[in-house]
């Protein structure tokens, strides 16, 4: 027993402890001893300087502030992401996408101009041969005006890019020169008056200048413009896809922060003011949560749409535009092969090279190529181990409406190649007849099938871009409403509580 008083001897400091609990870390965190049992606010002990953060209204304000900050973050992240999606769709859907079409049209028109000039020269005096001289001349005129229109469009879409603008300018300059050379060749040919087949050497000399200008300078420029648009789309796609990923992460983080803050505020108010729910805050939480969730999902969907627009739409449109360009210059090589015996070997080899880049079939020469194509096409779609621009389109397409269109393209391509075999076997005059008759018809049928297939992808592309824009637009429209309503509801939920302290 004696020990007790002994123990109590050092007691004196104890009142001290009761009076100033401040040095301990505990009090700030523990409102447990708070006598806040009565609903009307009984301000807790104010010891020392009244830190605003420790007072109940101060803490309510602080938590509310944190919530608002998180919400601002959320809405900010959403609106930047939406802006980003819009920019991406704009580049892909309204800038580089149309540029691919415009420049591919340009290539087609230019290449066909040269083909038609060659055809007119080949027909010579026999004006009625095949589809006739007049038709070739009309086509030449039509392609000329198509080319002019396409250059204008490409120039408008090239925008401020200096390298692209220089290229478009160079195309314009050389086009004028080409037309002069072509006109001279046509005039000389008319004066020469020769039977169907190669024209006299002096006509050929002028035509060689013209076709060299076309094939070595103009066509590469047009083709490279198409490729450049492909580059722009690929970069925009990569950039915006990764930005969308980051945006989604930010939205998720800010959404979680905001929801957490709102729940915290709700819990704090419930404990302090003995109310189970604060309805206004509850609704604000629901709105913020729903909007964050919708935003998050929509951003994910946009990434999917961008992907679809590029992979299913744009990539195929680009590949088919290139196939069409190469196909047309192949067709031109057939005319030039007959027109210029001196260069016939080169034109035959470039024809094979271009055929291989359209649809690759292992073969060392044209004879083997015809056979390989015939076999490969017959085996489609059971076997689709193709390479080349159309080959890869065929290989990556599962059973769908597209597959039927691809099968059609392949079938017509095979027919076109069969006519080519006929052309190379025939004697000079017969060959010209095949060229401007049956072969021209088959080429047009093949080209039309290609255009139809590209149209299917174009539709996919346009739809994906439009869907993407519509979804973002809806959320854009709702964004200010969500912001205003959450702000109003938070104020409505917190204000009455704060005013109890007045």
């Amino acid at each position: 027993m004696t020990s007790v008083p002994v123990n109590q001897i050092p007691a004196p400091p104890s009142p001290d402890r009761a009076a100033s609990p401040a040095p301990g870390a505990a009090p700030a965190r523990s409102p447990a001893p708070s006598p806040g049992a009565p609903a009307p606010p009984a301000p807790p002990r104010r010891t020392g300087p009244p830190s605003r953060l420790r007072s109940v209204p101060g803490r309510v304000l602080a938590i509310t502030g944190a919530c608002v900050l998180a919400l601002v973050l959320l809405f900010g992240a959403l609106s930047t992401s939406f802006q980003d999606v819009n920019d991406g769709l704009d580049v892909i859907g309204h800038d580089a996408g149309p540029q691919v079409v415009a420049t591919a049209d340009l290539y087609f028109a230019l290449s066909d101009m040269d083909t038609q000039v060659a055809n007119v020269l080949l027909i010579g005096d026999e004006h009625g041969l095949g589809k006739g001289r007049q038709r070739a001349l009309e086509l030449y005129e039509r392609r000329r005006s198509d080319a002019g229109r396409a250059v204008l469009q490409a120039s408008a879409l090239a925008g401020a890019d200096p390298a692209e603008r220089r290229t478009v300018q160079a195309v314009l300059d050389r086009l004028g020169r080409y037309e002069r050379l072509a006109a001279r060749a046509l005039l000389l040919d008319e004066q020469a008056g020769h039977p169907a087949g190669p024209p006299p050497e002096r006509v050929l000399e002028v035509y060689r200048q013209a076709t060299d200008l076309m094939r070595l300078e103009l066509l590469p420029m047009a083709y490279n413009l198409t490729l450049e648009s492909g580059t722009i789309v690929r970069r925009a796609h990569d950039e915006h896809t990764s930005a969308l990923g980051t945006g989604q992460v930010l939205v998720a983080a800010a959404g979680l922060l905001a929801l957490g803050g709102l729940v915290w505020l709700q819990a704090f108010l419930a404990r302090r003011f003995r109310r189970v729910f604060n309805p206004a805050l509850l609704v604000a939480t629901a709105i913020a949560g729903m909007y964050a969730l919708t935003g998050f999902t929509v951003l994910g969907g946009e990434a999917g749409l961008l992907q679809e627009a590029k992979r299913e739409g744009f990539d195929s449109v680009l590949a088919l535009a290139r196939a069409r360009a190469v196909g047309n210059s192949m067709h031109g090589d057939q005319s030039r092969y007959l027109l210029d015996p001196e260069r016939a070997d080169t034109y035959e080899q470039t024809y094979l090279d271009k055929s291989q880049s359209v649809l690759y079939a292992p073969s060392g020469n044209l004879g083997a190529y015809y056979t390989a194509v015939a076999e490969g096409v017959a085996a489609y779609p059971a076997k689709a181990e193709f390479l080349g621009l159309i080959g890869q389109e065929a290989a990556r397409s599962g059973p769908s409406a597209r597959q039927a269109a691809i099968a059609d393209v392949l079938r017509r391509y095979r027919e076109f190649q069969q006519s080519d075999a006929q052309l190379r076997r025939a004697t000079s005059r017969e060959a010209v007849q095949v060229l401007v008759g049956q072969l021209a018809t088959r080429f047009e049928a093949y080209d039309a099938a290609l255009v139809k297939l590209a149209g299917i992808h174009r539709t996919t592309f346009d739809r994906a871009v439009r869907d993407g824009e519509e979804r973002v637009e809806e959320l854009w429209f709702l964004l200010p409403m969500a912001m205003i309503s959450t702000a109003v509801l938070i104020v409505a939920g917190v204000w009455p509580r704060l005013s109890e302290y007045r």
């Binding site: 390298a163 220089r166 290229t167 070595l216 300078e217 066509l219 590469p220 420029m221 083709y223 490279n224 490729l227 492909g230 580059t231 690929r234 970069r235 990764s242 990923g245 980051t246 989604q248 992460v249 998720a252 983080a253 979680l256 922060l257 957490g260 803050g261 915290w264 290139r322 070997d345 080169t346 080899q349 470039t350 094979l352 090279d353 291989q356 880049s357 690759y360 292992p362 060392g364 020469n365 044209l366 390479l387 080349g388």
Partner: protein, 295 residues
């Protein structure tokens, strides 16, 4: 509350984001959010891009060691020729800090690219569908044409078809002879040789009657050996000479294509062509070639 902070602590290695929550009392919600952020960021950053020639400190370029005018070894690690100049210019324009040249041959250049021994190959590398399935090609930086070289006193050959029943040199690893014998189906007699320099020796020694390959290669050789040989000047193919790099390096390929476009637009390419082949009498084309497209 506790499990959250534990799991948040499980993501410290996230680089570049360290130290943000040290020194403060753990706030459960902030921690939860940070944990979520860390998880999502880790997912977003996990898919690293394949490396590109654009990321190289030192760009290792493979060139030929034995083709005068194109790629010729002149000393330890020193090469000269059109290919070398094109590679140097391209490297500068894509922003490579340093360039190093190494020897590649037709027989090993694809393997060197695949194994990463070289980053880029500029070595009269023809773009063909088969090559393209293994290597990504930028360019072509030039479209050469196959032509034929004969002894100067041999006046009977005006055209590749005149090679019928003559002896044609077949250099190892090169496909040029196929263009004659298989594509054109011209009945030549093939005489194998290890390299084109050996073909030239054989031509001089009358062991073969003709050498047929890219006109740029022939121009380089004939410039070196004076007037003993004659280029027939009857080109019969288009050979698209590309810049090879690792399959799938689209960023690098597109950057090289832009560099090539700029080189042709500002006249640099024309200057280099004239520098190396101006004296050969070849007809040169100074306009940008039609690119293959990066794939």
């Amino acid at each position: 509350m506790r499990p959250v902070s534990v799991s948040a602590g499980a993501f410290p290695p996230d680089p570049g984001r360290r130290g943000r929550r040290s020194g403060r009392r753990p706030r459960p919600l902030a921690l939860a959010a940070a944990a979520g952020l860390a998880v999502l960021l880790a997912g977003a950053c996990g898919t690293g891009r394949p490396d590109s020639i654009l990321d190289r400190e030192t760009l290792v370029v493979g060139v030929k060691p034995d083709q005068p005018g194109l790629g010729m070894k002149v000393g330890e690690g020193r090469y000269e020729g059109f290919d070398v100049d094109v590679a140097t210019e391209v490297a500068r324009r894509i922003g490579a800090p340093r360039v190093e040249f190494v020897t590649v041959l037709s027989s090993n250049r694809q393997r060197f690219i695949e194994e990463g021994k070289v980053d880029m190959v500029v070595a009269t590398y023809s773009i063909t569908p088969v090559n393209r399935s293994k290597v990504t090609f930028a360019g072509p930086y030039y479209v050469a044409h196959q032509d034929t070289l004969v002894r100067a006193e041999d006046k009977d050959v005006d055209n590749v078809r005149d090679l019928k029943d003559r002896r044609l040199c077949q250099a190892a690893g090169s496909n040029s002879w196929r263009r004659v014998k298989e594509e054109r189906q011209i009945a030549v007699r093939l005489v194998p040789a290890a390299t084109y320099s050996e073909c030239l020796d054989k031509l001089r020694d009358k062991a073969v009657d003709a050498v047929s390959t890219d006109d740029l290669i022939l121009a380089g050789f004939s410039a070196e050996t004076g007037s003993a040989f004659r280029i027939v000047n009857a080109p019969f193919t288009d050979e698209r000479l590309g810049i090879g790099m690792r399959k799938g390096d689209l960023d690098g390929c597109e950057a090289v294509n832009r560099a090539l476009t700029a080189m042709y637009q500002d006249g640099t390419a024309g200057k280099l062509l004239r520098k190396w082949f101006g004296a050969s009498g070849l007809e040169l084309n100074f306009s940008v070639p039609q690119f293959e497209g990066c794939a």
